[in-house]
Amino acid sequence: MTRDLKHVLAGLRARDKASVAQVLNWVEDRRFAAQSRVQELLDRLCREHGDGAEDEGLRIGLTGPPGVGKSSLVARLGCAYRQAGRSVAVVAIDPTSVVSGGALLGDRARMEFDPRDRDCFMRSLSTRGHAGGLSYAVHSAVQILASAFDVVLVETTGVGQNETDIIHIADTVVLVVQPGGGDTLQFLKAGVMEIPDLFVVNKADETKLAQRALSDLKSALHTLAAVGSFSGAPPQAISTSARHGDGIEDLMNAISAHREGLGDKGRSHRRQQGDLAWSFSLFLRDFGVFGMNQLGGQEVVKRLLHEGLVRGSSPPAVVDTLGSALLRAIRDPDFQRHRV
């Protein structure tokens, strides 16, 4: 590890803002030098934490359609965790314009954190137009922030594909909806209902509507549970008002309850699944279907990735190793595919 990297790692652990930001700059930097630094850093963190389930930060994902007040809710939740003495990092993800590649990262406008507070950090990331929603950078960013902060809040916009990604990043996924939006029915139809671990009806200041939305939601969850849609306990549904700060404690309790329900084993299994999905999509990005078939198809590639992860390597490092294997396979005409 170079001195440069050691210095930054020390800064990261001390939650020095410039160092944390520097690491995230590298995460977003697609040049080889930056990417290998990130890989080295992730490897180091992976080796230190093992599967990381106990001593790493709480990772909470908040998702839902635009305009339901996610940013305000994240701000309230962040402040509540800070008041409870936990350090907090926020990652807000905004869509990128397909035409210009530009993006307006507007969520900071709704977050009122004390700028002098060293234990609070916020970064906006844009999706960079990758199919599948969350950018590759988000995985690394969350992993790195979780090594330094007690709580990492990830906010994503939109419904659909993004939710299936957030489940690979967060220990607890919270779906935020608003009263009268008709969102719950849509989620039911889209099958998104099975992804969130918690449901929040925000903007509960519109009391009557909110009560109805909450009871609709609860009965939908009840029905789903009855037909066996959930492997474990059905998710909780609560109401909040980010505007007035109501229900924030309930939300924190529900998040803790979900975390306890998962247990160390459940959490570590979930993270492994997340890392596997992340490395598989990294592999596809770098080597494509052609590469996958050269190594014997999806099953084989996933198995190889899994083995690498269990050995304690970071997802980018595992993909790197597999890449080398692939190169050997292509170069050596006698190389037996099934031996891989």
Binding site: K17, S97, L104
Partner: protein, 668 residues
């Protein structure tokens, strides 16, 4: 002037100058001189801390005290401001909104002290919060609480200060934010409807009294350089207001249905290039609101020719006052009836505006009304889009602006030969003196009475009692502006309005589109070289809420391909530095129009150095005199942009270059 003509002349409008700066004492001297010069009313400009409810020693007030207006922190300041000016004879207009109940309370308290019956007081509190959320930015509380304060003032004055105009619905600032005439008409009307509905909903006003309330509503309008259209806009206002009176509220008495308005002509169109031309623009714009007898302004205040350069001096304001006096007293304008009744051209144009504006009124009412359309960001987004279209038209040359994009060859103007003296500079010592005077004030007052008054204020805020009596009591007790506002902040909370930038979309055409394409390709190149997408922070530090410039830069930067972090108005230097560092931006752009740049910008540079980012290029845009621009560059600012830099795509070009160069020098 013939004798006969004098007999039939109409009474001229009230002539005012928007004025106030430095201290209450200095502003009082200015007012007295202005009255001697023939001004017939006063228009008080307050500084931003007073407008946003901060005492001068608050961190957010840094660099802003006495800049864009006079600081009025307590009753003592109010006494000094109106020293030797008889309140009972004055017609005083106050540009005050979020803290309107408080400033009016101090004015009433001063009248009581002097033994003047408040029932004789005449004047106007602007008190229109909707346009603050949309364009001017001096709001404090969330919409529903702001609306409640407005209705409190309306209900109180109708009873106790009956000759006062409790609210001046402002379409002025909407045009400054880029509104088209149709939008200006529509959004002013839905604001008025919002206020009237809110007053009705309190149930505190009886049916016959409601007509009086309706009659007390007045408007504050803008007039731009397309003066024929603007003239028709004023006639359309008259017609639409009468429609609202009849159809929505059933107002029967003719005198209560009248559309009463005051005006400040357009500042948006005033140019920094060949600034002497502005006096001609100002006069033409004044014609739009005076030529029609049927839709003539009740009160006029004109900007000064040099407003794009800095704060106007007394002489600059006198020049504008003389323009009014020449039109009213030298010309024969006031000898005739309405000049345009029966004109097919004017009537057709007026009707077209009435129709399009009404359509938009209905559209907003269908969304729930003005407050809802503010909270959803709908109106703001429409304004941001219109302004982008306007700026594009100037940049592409589709809209001619003499001296800016046409006829730019010019002699050296003797008026601006010594630029450092061509506008007013406020002594930075003013801030320290005002802080000192507030401290003195606080030691001399009765602490127990202050505590009790603040308790009464909080009680009124919580219980829903009218806020005015408790505020007047607080004024007598010596409460300060900051204390009044913080007592209410505790009860109501604070608000951040939608920026309108996130979802605004503007189609670009012609030359502007070409340069956009070119810049996008360049930015892609830069991204390849530096490994990630160029990212910039657009920051609006200080209390100045005029966010149009910042919004347009943020919007265009996004369309060029930057990742843009924009946090809206009123952010502190600490917040800007923290955001720049945490977000890992390549560039910081700051917008400051209040004149506070010399205090705020070096502070941000210092904080960036402290945070380990001395390398970060910082650019500043605003009304910044050349001399100050040089000082900012010395302090480390990479570039300074002023109103004369109208070609936004050249600014963008320079910003892309800055990121490119900055990255070539830095290691990561």
């Amino acid at each position: 002037m013939t004798h006969r003509a004098q007999e039939t002349r109409d009474r001229p409008w009230i002539m005012r100058t928007y004025a106030g700066h430095s201290t209450a004492r200095a502003s009082n001297a200015l007012y007295r001189t202005n009255l001697e010069k023939g001004q017939t009313g006063l228009s008080v400009a307050f500084d931003l801390p007073t407008q946003t409810g901060y005492d001068p020693d608050h961190p957010l007030a840094r660099g802003e005290v006495g800049k864009v207006g006079v600081p009025i922190t307590h009753l003592g300041d109010m006494r000094a401001l109106f020293d030797s000016i008889p309140l009972e004879e004055m017609n005083t207009s106050m540009t005050i909104n979020a803290t309107a109940p408080w400033l009016l309370a101090m004015y009433i308290a001063l009248a009581e002290e002097r033994g003047v019956d408040p029932r004789t007081l005449r004047g106007t509190t602007q008190n229109d919060i909707v346009k603050e959320y949309l364009s001017r930015g001096t709001y404090i509380f969330p919409p529903q609480h702001s609306m409640r304060l407005i209705t409190d003032v309306v209900i109180y004055t109708v009873e106790h200060v009956p000759r006062w105009n409790p609210i001046n619905i402002c379409s002025y600032h909407l045009q400054e934010a880029g509104a088209t005439p149709t939008q200006e008409l529509a959004y002013a009307l839905v604001t008025a409807i919002g206020v009237l509905d809110a007053v009705q909903a309190t149930g505190q006003i009886s049916e016959p009294r409601f007509e009086q309330v309706f009659g007390r509503l007045s408007f504050f309008v803008n007039a731009g350089i397309r003066f024929v259209e603007e003239l028709c806009k004023m006639r359309a206002f008259v017609e639409l207001w009468s429609r609202v009176a009849e159809q929505r509220y059933g107002v029967k008495e003719e005198k209560f249905r009248r559309f009463r308005y005051g005006i400040q002509v357009n500042s948006l169109g005033l140019t920094e290039q060949q600034p002497e031309n502005n006096i001609i623009r100002i006069v033409l714009e004044m014609l739009a609101v005076t030529l029609s007898k049927d839709a003539r302004a009740r009160a006029i205040q004109l900007p000064a020719w040099n407003e794009a350069l800095g704060l106007p001096r007394s002489w600059d304001q006198q020049w504008s006052l003389r323009a009014q006096q020449i039109l009213a007293f030298e010309t024969d304008l006031l000898e005739y009836g309405d000049l345009f009744r029966g004109s097919h051209v004017v009537e057709a144009k007026t009707q077209a505006l009435v129709d399009s504006a009404w359509e938009e009124v209905v559209h907003v009412l269908d969304q729930g009304g003005a407050i809802e359309a503010v909270e959803s960001g709908y109106v703001k987004q429409r304004l941001v889009e219109s302004n982008a279209v306007r700026l594009q038209a100037i940049e592409s040359g589709a809209q001619t602006v003499v001296g800016v994009n046409a006829y730019t060859t010019s002699e050296q103007s003797p008026l601006t030969a010594d630029l450092s003296r061509a506008f007013l500079s406020v002594d930075p010592e003013v801030e320290r003196a005002q802080i000192q005077s507030v401290n003195d004030w606080k030691t001399k007052r009765d602490a127990a009475a202050v505590r009790e008054a603040l308790g009464g204020l909080r009680h009124a805020a919580e219980s829903g009692e009218n806020i005015m009596p408790a505020s007047i009591q607080a004024a007598h007790a010596g409460v300060t502006t900051g204390e009044w506002a913080f007592a209410l902040r505790e009860v109501f909370g604070e608000y951040r309005a939608p920026t309108g930038v996130g979802s605004a979309h503007v189609a670009s055409r012609g030359a502007v589109e070409d340069s956009l394409h070119r810049l996008r390709r360049r930015l892609d190149d830069v991204e390849h070289r530096i490994g990630r997408r160029p990212k910039m922070l657009v920051g609006k530090p200080g209390l100045d809420g005029h966010s149009n410039g910042a919004e347009q830069i943020a919007l265009l930067a996004r369309d060029v391909g930057f990742e843009v972090v924009y946090e809206g108005i009123r952010v502190t230097p600490e917040q800007i530095a923290a955001s720049a560092v945490e977000e890992g931006v390549h560039l910081v752009g700051l917008s400051i129009l209040s004149g506070g740049h010399l205090a705020v910008v070096p502070e941000i540079l210092r904080l960036l150095r402290e945070a380990g980012r001395p390398d970060l290029p910082v650019v500043v845009g605003g009304i910044i005199p050349d001399r100050d621009a040089a000082r900012l560059r010395e302090a480390g600012v990479a570039a300074v942009y002023t109103p004369k830099d109208f070609a936004l795509s050249s600014i963008m070009e320079a910003l892309v270059s800055l990121v490119d160069e900055g990255q070539q020098h830095s290691a990561s």
